[in-house]
Symmetry: C2
Subunit: 359 residues, 2 copies
C-alpha cells in the first residue's frame, strides 16, 4: 500500500504538463507530456494536413473550412484537455503551413532556439483552446531552402546532446559545439547547428534539403527502372548491392551526377550483375551515396570539418545512412530518439508556456 | 504526256529499295525507301514493343508468343512487300531487345559503322520474309551503359555530316573529325564519334545516358514538386524561368547535385518567385543544365575539347538543349533531321542488302 507522500508524488508525476502535436502532411502524433517532458501517453492518428477527417454535419455552414482540423484535434486530445483543462498545447509541422490550420510564417536563419520559442503563432479552437504553432525556418540563399517540423526535432536532439555533455568532465562546456543533424526521409534535411551549453542559445545556422526518399520512390515506381524491379517489392537486406551503390558517387563515373548514374541500375540488371531485389538496394545506396558525397563536398567548401553527426528518423533508414556515412569516412554518428517530443517540450519552455513544478 | 524515258525513270525512282523499321517501346515507324534512300512513304503506328496489337484468333495455338509482332509487321508493310517482293527489310530499336521479336545482342564499343552493319541478327516472319535487326551497343565501363535504336540515328547523322563536309573545300577530308551527337529525350544519349571521310569507318567511341526526360516526368507527377505545378499542364514558353533553371548547375549551390537543387523548384514557388507554369519550366531547365554541366565536366576530364555538336530529336526539345548548351558556352550546335531512316539506309548498305541501281 502506498504511503501518502508517495501517492501525491505519483499523482503529480502523472499530471499533464503539456500536450504536444507533431502534425505533418500524412499523420498526426499527439503526446501527453508530464513533469520534465516525460511521455505519459502517445496517440498516432492518420489525420495528416492533407488527409483530415471528413466533415459531414450540416451545422458547420458558415464555418471557415477548418472543421477537419477541429475534428482531428478533438480526437487527438479532446479527452486529455477535459481531464486537465488549461494545459498548454503546442504543435509543429505542416499544420503551420499555408495549407495548414493557421500559417506560422517562416523565420529566417541563423536563429536561436530561444527566438523560435518566442515567435509561436496561435490558433483558437471552437472550444476556446489556444494552440501554439511552431514556425518553419527559411534560408534565404541563392536557392532558398525551408524546413517545417524538423526544427522541433533538431531542438530536441540538441537538448539531449547538452545533457550528455554535462555528464562528461573532459569536454569544455562553454565552447560552442558544431553539430550536423541529419533527418533522413522523404526529404532529407541536414541542419548545421552551433550548440551551446546554455541550450536555448544554440544557433541553427544552415540547412540543406535532399529529396532523396521522394525521388527514390518515384524512380522505383514511375521510370524505366521500375521494369527491372517488378519482381521485388521488399528488401532482403542486400548489403552488397547497397554498398556498391553507395560508392558510385565517389568514382569518376559518379561525377556525371544522379541523372546519369541511376541508369546503371538498369544496365547492371541487363548484364546480370544485379537481380530485381539487388537493383532496388543498389539504387537506394546510389542515391544516399550521392547525398552524402554532396554534403561532404559542401562542408569542405565551407571549410567546416565534418562535425559530430546526429541522425534522427526511422531506425532502418538511419541504419542505411550510418553505413553510407561510414563509407565516406564518417564514423562518429549517433542516432537520437524521442527528438520530436523533447523539442516541443523545449520550445514550450522557451515560450514560457510551462511552469516547472516540483514533484 | 510523259515521254517514254521519263516514265521509265519515274518508275525506277518510285521503286522500293528498302523497308526500314524504327521499332521502339511505344511506337513503330515504317519507311518505304527508294533510290539513294529517298523516303517514298512513311507510316506511324502505335504498335511499340510494349503495346503490340492483341491476337484474338484461335488458329495461333502452338505459336511462340510473337504473333503480336507478326500482326504489327503486316499492318506496317505487308502491302509494300506484296507490291515489291524480295525487298530487304531492316529494323532497329527495342524490337531487338530481350523483350523484342528477336534479341540482337549488344555489341561492344568502340566499333565502326561497317562492323555494326556486318553483325545484324535476323528473324523470319510466318510468311518467310527475313527481317534484319540492328544490334544495340554496350559500353563495358565501371557503370555499363547501353544504347539501342540510337546507333542508327547516330549513323544517319554521320552520313549527312560527311556529305556536308565534302561540299566544303576548306576542311581536310581525310582527318578524323570528333563529333558529339546528342539525342535528348526520355533517356538522353550523348555519343562521341570519331568521324571519317569514308563514313563506314567512323568509330562510335563512347556514350553516356542521362535519364533526364524520364526523371522530369516522374518528378512533375509523383513527388512533392507536383503540388506547386498542378495549375499548369502546358508550357507557356517561359524562357526566363527555364534559363534560371539552366544556370543552377554552374553556381556553388548547384554542386549539391540534382537531389538537392530540385527542391528549389518548390521553395521558389513558396517565396512567390515562380508561379505554377514557371516551376515546370524552371525544373526542365534545371535538369537539362545539370546534364549539360556534367557532360562538359566529363569531356574536360577526358581532355576532349567540346567538339562539334549535333542534336537529333523532337524539334521543341532540341531547341531547349540548344539554349542550355549556349548558356554553357557551346554555340556550334546543329540539328540533324531524318537521321533514323538515313542511318537504316547506311546500315543496309554496310550489310550488303542493297544493290545500288541507276535510275
Amino acid at each position: 500500500m502506498e504511503s501518502f507522500p508517495n501517492k501525491l508524488m505519483n499523482q503529480a508525476q502523472n499530471q499533464t504538463q503539456l500536450i504536444a502535436l507533431d502534425w505533418g502532411t500524412s499523420s498526426l502524433r499527439a503526446y501527453r507530456l508530464g513533469v520534465d517532458g516525460q511521455v505519459l501517453e502517445l496517440r498516432a492518428l492518420p489525420w495528416g494536413v492533407m488527409r483530415l477527417p471528413e466533415v459531414v454535419s450540416a451545422e458547420n455552414s458558415g464555418a471557415d473550412g477548418k472543421e477537419g482540423f477541429e475534428l482531428a484535434f478533438e480526437q487527438a486530445c479532446g479527452d486529455w484537455l477535459l481531464a486537465a483543462p488549461h494545459t498548454p498545447v503546442i504543435a509543429a509541422g505542416m499544420v503551420g503551413s499555408r495549407e495548414g490550420w493557421r500559417e506560422a510564417p517562416y523565420l529566417s536563419i541563423p536563429i536561436t532556439v530561444d527566438q523560435i520559442g518566442r515567435t509561436l503563432s496561435t490558433v483558437r479552437t471552437r472550444t476556446g483552446q489556444i494552440i501554439y504553432i511552431v514556425p518553419g525556418l527559411i534560408q534565404n540563399s541563392a536557392l532558398p531552402d525551408v524546413i517545417r517540423g524538423e526544427e522541433a526535432q533538431v531542438i530536441g536532439a540538441l537538448s539531449m546532446l547538452d545533457f550528455n555533455k554535462s555528464s562528461s568532465s573532459t569536454e569544455q562546456q562553454d565552447e560552442p559545439d558544431a553539430v550536423l543533424i541529419g533527418l533522413p526521409g522523404t526529404h532529407s534535411k541536414w541542419v548545421q547547428v552551433r550548440g551551446q551549453h546554455r541550450e536555448m542559445k544554440s544557433h541553427i545556422e544552415h540547412f540543406s534539403t535532399f529529396m532523396t526518399g521522394d525521388v527514390y520512390a518515384a524512380l522505383c515506381a514511375h521510370t524505366i527502372l521500375a521494369r527491372g524491379m517488378q519482381a521485388s517489392d521488399i528488401s532482403r537486406g542486400d548489403h552488397g548491392a547497397f554498398d556498391r551503390g553507395v560508392l558510385v558517387a565517389k568514382t569518376p563515373a559518379g561525377r556525371a551526377g544522379v541523372l546519369s548514374t541511376i541508369f546503371s541500375t538498369r544496365t547492371l540488371g541487363l548484364t546480370g550483375v544485379l537481380d530485381a531485389a539487388g537493383q532496388r538496394e543498389y539504387l537506394s545506396g546510389l542515391l544516399i551515396g550521392h547525398e552524402v558525397a554532396a554534403l561532404q563536398a559542401s562542408l569542405t567548401e565551407q571549410r567546416q570539418q565534418f562535425p559530430r553527426v546526429i541522425l534522427i528518423g526511422d531506425a532502418a533508414l538511419c541504419e542505411r545512412y550510418v553505413r553510407a556515412l561510414k563509407a565516406y569516412g564518417i564514423d562518429q554518428v549517433e542516432v537520437a530518439e524521442q527528438a520530436t517530443e523533447r523539442g516541443l517540450w523545449q520550445l514550450a519552455l522557451a515560450a514560457g508556456l510551462l511552469t516547472r513544478i516540483q514533484p
